[in-house]
Symmetry: C2
Amino acid sequence: MPESAWDFVTRAMAELRALQGAAALLSWDQETYLPAKGGAARAEQLTALQGLAHERLTDPRLGEALARAGAGAPPDGAEGEARAAALRALRFDRDRAVRVPGDLVRALATAQSEGVEAWRAAREASDFPGFVPHLSRLLALRREEADAIGVPAGGERYDALLDGHEEGMRVARLAPILSRLTGWLAPLVERCVAAPPPDDAFLRGRFDLEAQWAFTMELLPRLGFDLDAGRQDRSAHPFSTGMDPGDVRITTRLFEDLPLSSVFSTLHEAGHGMYEQGLPARWRRSVLGQGASAGLHESQSRLWENLVGRSLPFWKGMLPRLARHLPQLSGVAPAAFHRAVNKVERSLIRVEADEVTYNLHVALRFELELALVRGDLAVADLPGAWDERMRRLLGITPPRAAEGCLQDIHWSLGAFGYFPTYSLGNLYAASLFAAARRALPGLEDGFERGEFAPLLAWLREHVHAWGRARPAEEIVRAATGRGLTDEDLRAYLEGKYGALYVS
Amino acid sequence: MPESAWDFVTRAMAELRALQGAAALLSWDQETYLPAKGGAARAEQLTALQGLAHERLTDPRLGEALARAGAGAPPDGAEGEARAAALRALRFDRDRAVRVPGDLVRALATAQSEGVEAWRAAREASDFPGFVPHLSRLLALRREEADAIGVPAGGERYDALLDGHEEGMRVARLAPILSRLTGWLAPLVERCVAAPPPDDAFLRGRFDLEAQWAFTMELLPRLGFDLDAGRQDRSAHPFSTGMDPGDVRITTRLFEDLPLSSVFSTLHEAGHGMYEQGLPARWRRSVLGQGASAGLHESQSRLWENLVGRSLPFWKGMLPRLARHLPQLSGVAPAAFHRAVNKVERSLIRVEADEVTYNLHVALRFELELALVRGDLAVADLPGAWDERMRRLLGITPPRAAEGCLQDIHWSLGAFGYFPTYSLGNLYAASLFAAARRALPGLEDGFERGEFAPLLAWLREHVHAWGRARPAEEIVRAATGRGLTDEDLRAYLEGKYGALYVS
């Protein structure tokens, strides 16, 4: 009996997932254990795997199998729904891959590796003009890529790029929400910085690195991160990667003088990691066994980092445990600690920003990259536009481009359309957490006892269990009763910081 | 301009090396850092990579390119020689891959995974009959594989299997040497065990694991293992794997009550690792950038483990350094230590055997597996034949099959033809070391000062630099002036142990 079209698709998906998993492990190793002289070989191995995955995804036989598998009547019920969802998701990935010509793929890869190198040098020297030709080239290639993929119906060129990170999201839907968000964030920042700043003197000093590590390793299983299905290592920049629900790797980093950097990195990456561990085991070989979007993934990390990890009940439960590892902290009251970890500041660097100012940093980048892709802003004018918006949104001016428009790696990879997913993550996190609180009375009392299982179980059921079978916003709507909105984040931030910052 | 046949071959080799490198990293991770629940996904990833590598190797376009690239006149000089050697080596690999039908490949893979599982259970219960059906199946499949590959001219079926590990080696050449070897080893063992055994009481007790680890990490760069081009980790069974001369991984294992297990494991694996690090960088993307054979690889590990690591000059230099980590050893004299680490015993387990008895364990396995492949020995009769030979060669009888014919994993993978490469390694190691001593006056005086660079440089030039461009025995012949011989090993062992064991 010849193989059915669906069987062919199933086999192709499993092979693609295996290749992606192998590539993910190679990338993880590159950031954790790769010897200094192993870089060239690693790059060749990754290029080979990515080339093979691209070859398999664009294989015309897969295209035919997808067409034939979609033509027949699917099985009834959940099985049929899952099959239809998998066909849709794989077709989406394949269409994007097929439409971009090989020459453009190679040109982008070259421009990216040259771009990152040029960006590092430019940031080091704070030399924006040196970066201009690279950024211009990347922008031109991404616009070409967007046109090759095709502008979604009723959309614009930027949407084709955004779609690669946040399937189904559109500028027309996103821009008004981010604009509303900046509207109420600016006065909230104003109010916070006008009040007396919290005392965080107890966070200064030297904090033993091994003790920090030990606390994060104690924290992980308590949160619900399964150390038999994953691990934590150290790396220069924290990240997470999931090869399989049974093999999820996260990293953290340790600084002697920043005792909470490791804790919040671990919380953030554990959020990503628990999402990966919670993806349905039955879809481990399917295209559905992945996170639904970059934004929904970020919602999980931000939820654990901020909604849980910067809450008073969390620190009522965890501060005594942390102080067992870092005895310098044993005299600090949880309420004082809570105020210190929620310090609001007008700062220049996105990755160091607090919860309140963070989305202003994102909004600025979204506005600027949208203008670049639309052709409304010339690359050479970027620093001026950056500084002007920085003054308007945060009331400060970067002293030099290294602390301004050269601070992030994203654009050096031509990753236009990624930044807004950070804010989507914050928005979804607030809505999901609000829904979980409604569904689980006494949820935060549990935090005080170090109990997080009810929250994780709720996220498993309402978010993780869907994998990529539905668009992110639909998953959030089903879980919370509403789609993308800034109201939950507003209620959360205004409530929390209104109480914390009383001038 | 269309791609030349040689360019096609070059590209195919580079892709194959990249896929092999990726698979090697995945296997390394499986033994070091893989979470408990990650096994299923890892197996799928490895299967996918091996399948792709097999697909590329057997691709008819590669066959055509190999034929066309071989037809034209190669460039003059070293470049032309290297090209011819690469074409020969790749054709060798490809022919073996093409000749074995896909059904047989899959049947072998299944029989291997079932075989290993059955072997573990059988060894656990010392239940040989439970393993018989699996071993019979593996033997039948390997005989079928040997026939598919084809018996080399003038050879026998076993040669086709041996060829997969030790290219060009033949039973007709190997059997007489191993037989001579057992001839003079037996009386040497006799003499050693008749003499009073060395005192090794100072090796009993508890030895701190971190201190053992620290010593091995200090030893590695001193030997010449480049920690910027490799790393050491811990695993249940020590092994080494080379992804690239710039990325070579070795492992060791630590036991509190066996302070030297870690040291000799590190020495052994560092020998393999330095071979991999010494492979020519210009061949990193070529089939030539690999070890020449399993036997030559083993010669490098055994040379460092035994000829260097069990020598008196080595311990004159290293014992004070070891004692800094393990203060219990600070009162021991180097000569007494040297005697203790060269204790000769009639023992049952190959991997625990000393230098003198080791090759008797190998000879026994070679005789038996040769008889199995020839059809001269029935699988069911293996335990009896094992015990009989064990008595004859070593004068002891295993109390049960778990300490007899069930002790090694090799046959549970159907790896017939591998065991003799261990003795080839010992034979080549003795010949290479003898040649290095002749070429480098004062070599061992250097060991006393902790200097190993001259030895490594000699091995780099005479062994490592050849990669896979010549057969192992030719490399040894060029380096030592003679091919495979038991005379150097005999002179070494009889000289060393004659002096150590005086009754």
